[in-house]
Assembly symmetry: C2
Homo-oligomer: 350 residues x 2
Amino acid sequence: MRATVMYGAGDVRVEEVADARLIDPTDALVRVTRAAICGSDLWPYKSMPHDDAGRRMGHEFIGVVEAVGSDVETVKAGDLVVSPFLWSDGSCVFCREGLQSECLHGGRYGWGDVDGGQGEAVRVPQADGTLVVLPIGADDELMPSLLALSDVMGTGHHAALAAQAGPGKTVAVVGDGAVGLCAIIAACRLGAARIIALSRNPARQQLARSFGATDIVAERGEAAIEAIKEMTDGVGVDAALECVGTGQSMATAFGIARPGSIVGAVGAPHGVEVPIDSVIFRNIGLRGGVAPARRYIPELLDDVLEGRIHPGRVFDFETNIDGIAEAYAAMDERRAIKSLVTVGAKETRR
Amino acid sequence: MRATVMYGAGDVRVEEVADARLIDPTDALVRVTRAAICGSDLWPYKSMPHDDAGRRMGHEFIGVVEAVGSDVETVKAGDLVVSPFLWSDGSCVFCREGLQSECLHGGRYGWGDVDGGQGEAVRVPQADGTLVVLPIGADDELMPSLLALSDVMGTGHHAALAAQAGPGKTVAVVGDGAVGLCAIIAACRLGAARIIALSRNPARQQLARSFGATDIVAERGEAAIEAIKEMTDGVGVDAALECVGTGQSMATAFGIARPGSIVGAVGAPHGVEVPIDSVIFRNIGLRGGVAPARRYIPELLDDVLEGRIHPGRVFDFETNIDGIAEAYAAMDERRAIKSLVTVGAKETRR
């Protein structure tokens, strides 16, 4: 089968690899129909040293189940499914608590003998604990938003929950990438009264507004902090969502958070230093982390199916698997917010 | 009047200073009867460069109101009062939310023209927002526990609340100082099922047990983390309370916290680096800070008055104001957990 392999910074190729196949009785074999490129895929795309063996890429996908192992009970051949970006057993202590991203027996796609999502098929371990069946057939319009449930929408939701964004709150979102934009959807969905989006990109500003942002701040760093303080009677926002993962974005989030609030952080950290003085002397908390997307899919699914939220609008670049290198480049150069890749047969042909 | 002045590391003196007096109409003049030395007083005691002007010390005290300004409504001359370790106006946006430690118009004792608590009298600014009247007369046995409400008991309670210690939870307390010991009381009071105290000092271990600790871990650092992991099915505790404020104590707290939990941190930070990887990849949050002791006094007071909690047992060194240098030395050398200083007339003589 064909799949995406990264050999180093800027070097992404589609190649023939060994066919995905069932190994364990808890596996499902999923024929991928749509996959996405994640902001986190850009970190190796920017910095990975050359590796002759290559790294299988992708962890966000929708597909049709082709076969299941003998122990699988909740999905069957023919089911259209979405996978969260991590696989999880659904039965360990953390899964039972709804923190599937800390599953004791789970793991990542594209590592070891588990396929990556940006390919024609994937062996999904622990299928019962991982996959969610989509109760629909072919629907080109819905697919992008359903695919967004695999990662960015759940991750934005995790940031909003961590920061206790909720009814009546003033929320600020640091980061105008796909996760930040989905965090705006999440904050709006949770009832926030005012949502301040930090963005200097006109197209993203517009999307932010369509997702529920009430205010846009184009400044960065200290100037952004000043601007938001001024908008909030000098005290800061009730919930700051950190959706980038850099030192500056974390500093901005703590700078705009009001005393007693929580910074909800979901950006993969690169050079982040937590300002402990703000934690202690301003009573500003920090929560978040790798989102249990599996937990959130069922609760967000209805909102997607019934058209209340449209996280799929973050996909502004679409190609087939042969165009994957360009799909990476478009995101890396910030020409695209997020790339959607159609792979093999569409859902219609299952 | 006589008051405590620090001139540099190890140099604490009792001296004649200008009499405390009412200045603003919102002031109360409080004749101090008992004062305490705080763990945070030990930081300048260890490291303060010599300063000819000296620094007025103390922020934990009980006393009798001698006079009040014309705007003061809730306390009157003759009232026995306890002060939280910060003064606050009781009316700003943060005070109204119960976060008086972030009061927009509050401040610290011993700074500017506000007296320190380790002296014969204190001008208390914003008396209505700060002081709490104690509904009792002379009671030598209760006084230490009431004095503990001014800081350490409320601070331990803040750590426990921040970490969501509660019914059925397994809680670990890092730090066997007065705050850590009070955090044990708080966790027990909130219904924790299991309380692990980290301490290698036999006297403190015993006090920890009397406060509700069910387990003692005498190891430190990695060994402590190993031991606690072993006690908790390998996953860690539901709530880790960081009551020290050093790099090692924070690392230990994050090391023993289970994924999804919150580290409740109240130690004044000295060389602390927050392990951001644990925040993101283990979903461990961080909350806490300078406690709103003023908020907690009323809710903890009944438990003290009715003998359900005895935070005053952390005082294991008592002297009068002439012995203050020795009271500092005893704590600094860890001969004492916490020192109580009787100042001037006792409550009986008011």
